[in-house]
């Protein structure tokens, strides 16, 4: 078990709910992932919509903690409004704070993000800011009261994995008391393993599962990868060396004293 804000969770996998081939596959993928937290969003209803929301009906029975996002917001003001709506709609004070600064790579806007985070913390939210891996921004967010940070691995939906491992390792080293969750850009389970081996507390992803050829199977692969990565971090990897070192002791092996011929 580990602690995410005030909740104790068994899984370090946080899963998004968008872009699945069907609601049934979404449900099956969530169950296979064993994720304890799933992300959700909100939309304006069209008059053509029925009052019964099939998505809501499908996920509310799964018993996962909900992490609503502020997707589509480009200013702190819009993000704050969206968070307040989400708090009532989903009955949670958790908010994945997204304030986008650039349309091309969906890079978070650092100034608006910090402004929104400060305001939302004052309003009683548990803010999960989706941020870049910039150390100074992350320190500012922590100084603003964020207990959890969600730096990107690479741009949302790119599947490129950890573009700047040095920056992520630096965050882990410099912010040892902050819950760090890699969010965005994860494409394959090996990327998730890499982040977890660094000591990240969790991984949040969506597209890598939902757009996989077999989403349910991929959800299982990520589940196992995240567990493996965490186990490796806790076990403590061996130090890397620049020269070979025999794993079998050569002393007293039959030919140990023979010279190697040129």
């Amino acid at each position: 078990m580990w602690q995410l804000a005030e909740k104790s969770l068994s899984s370090r996998f946080l899963l998004g709910t968008a872009q699945y081939p069907s609601l049934h596959i979404l449900q099956e993928a969530i169950l296979a992932s064993q994720a304890g937290v799933i992300t959700v969003s909100l939309k304006r209803q069209a008059n053509s919509d029925t009052h019964k929301n099939a998505f809501w009906e499908a996920i509310k029975q799964l018993g996962c903690h909900l992490l609503p996002n502020t997707a589509g917001c480009h200013t702190a003001e819009d993000a704050i409004k969206t968070a307040e709506i989400a708090r009532e709609l989903f009955n949670t004070h958790w908010i994945k704070l997204e304030v986008i600064g650039d349309h091309y790579n969906l890079q978070p806007h650092p100034m608006e993000l910090e402004k929104a985070a400060k305001a939302l913390i004052l309003k009683g939210f548990e803010v999960f800011p989706y941020c870049t891996d910039d150390l100074i921004l992350c320190q500012r967010l922590v100084d603003s009261g964020c207990r959890i940070l969600m730096p990107w691995a690479s741009p949302i939906g790119s599947g490129k994995g950890l573009l700047n491992p040095y920056a992520l390792e630096t965050l882990r080293h410099r912010l040892p008391n902050t819950t760090l969750i890699v969010d965005a850009g994860i494409g394959k389970p090996s990327h998730a393993v890499q982040a977890m081996e660094m000591g990240f507390d969790g991984v949040l992803l969506n597209t890598a599962v939902s757009l996989a050829k077999h989403p349910v199977q991929m959800a299982k692969a990520f589940r196992d990868g995240i567990i493996a990565g965490r186990n490796a971090f806790e076990a403590g990897p061996m130090p890397e060396r620049n020269v070979a070192h025999p794993s079998t002791s050569l002393l007293d092996t039959p030919f140990w004293h023979q010279e190697i011929s040129a």
Binding site: Y20, K43, F55, I59, L89
Partner: protein, 72 residues
């Protein structure tokens, strides 16, 4: 008997005729929003559930119903 005055507001971006001075809670009930799975904005401002019964709608108000959807 007085004549009930009517007015036009926007509901989910479409015109909607309602009785003048109708409360937001009355509109929601009339339109069948009886479950808990929605939130409401009026003129792009969030109106908490606790204020639905004290929010009086006026001509040209823009009411939008916000519902859950998939997200990453």
């Amino acid at each position: 008997m007085g004549v009930l005055l009517k007015m036009i507001i926007s509901l989910n971006n479409e015109p909607c005729e309602i009785t003048a001075s109708m409360l937001l809670s009355e509109l929601l009930e009339k339109k069948g929003y009886t479950n808990a799975c929605y939130a409401v904005t009026v003129n792009r401002c969030f109106v908490p559930r606790s204020e639905h019964s004290v929010t009086t709608l006026v001509e040209k108000d823009c009411v939008e119903i916000i519902t859950p959807m998939q997200g990453g």
